[in-house]
Symmetry: C2
């Protein structure tokens, strides 16, 4: 079901798979997978890192700002795109974890760029255990965790 469990795919196959899964999910929620939404997904799927709205519109100038915002919201609500609030001026968007796999971020506090990183499964396991233990003590219902490293990127 997730991208991770699929056999290795080249870029074109991956994109097709992404569209397939997202289309199915939207249909299930009585939403349409229109060309505007498809373009949005395409931009994000081809990016190697989370993008802001200006990034997205710059990458595909056919996208209208208001529609992009609205569709991003629809896709976030549908669970296929994730919105990141890293503290900069703009929110960042990336494909949701079912499509991209579980990962974390390097956040540059100077230029605001965000890069994906993957941690070893031993770390993930320990973190998960530790967090869910605390959550259960507090009556908190965990949904997901985020682990970000803040600092200066190589370019800054």
């Amino acid at each position: 079901m997730t991208a991770e469990s699929l056999p290795v795919l080249d870029d074109k196959e991956y994109l097709a798979e992404v569209h397939l899964q997202i289309g199915a999910r939207l249909t299930r929620q009585e939403h349409r997978y229109t060309s505007g939404r498809r373009q949005l997904v395409e931009v994000l799927a081809q990016a190697k890192q989370p993008m802001t709205l200006p990034d997205i519109v710059a990458a595909d100038p056919d996208l209208a700002q208001s529609s992009a915002y609205r569709n991003l919201d629809v896709l976030v609500r549908s669970g296929v795109i994730r919105r990141l609030s890293a503290g900069g001026d703009h929110a960042h968007f990336e494909l949701a974890e079912p499509l991209l796999g579980h990962h974390h971020h390097l956040i540059c506090i100077r230029c605001g760029s965000i890069e994906d990183i993957h941690l070893g499964s031993d770390v993930e396991l320990l973190v998960d255990q530790s967090l869910s233990e605390i959550a259960s003590q507090t009556g908190f219902t965990p949904i997901h965790h985020s682990l970000d490293l803040h600092g200066h990127c190589a370019d800054c």
Copy 2:
């Protein structure tokens, strides 16, 4: 130097210590520790969780909104207060880690509230190692990490 390394203090002593350290730090940077800033710090020091600006002003109505925002900014820049961007409408503020100790957050995605949590040192160690390893491979200069658990709080 940090609050953690101090002997156990009651609330009044802790507050005095906080004021002392912050005052010293501001003076060093040619800023004044005025009563408005002191009130701001007092509100945050007495809170058990990160607060938004409306929270802060509600807790001490003498604080003017514009001054509170300006002073919060001064204090953040001076490194004595930390600004959290959790995705809700408002940013949250709390005393910086030298004063509060290293910790993480439970973030309620329904009501936006944030609560502090502390993880075991074994987890912290492993996370730190793992992150700095990745950082060094990427040319990223780490400053600090954040590890948040998102979900629904007990009240929601």
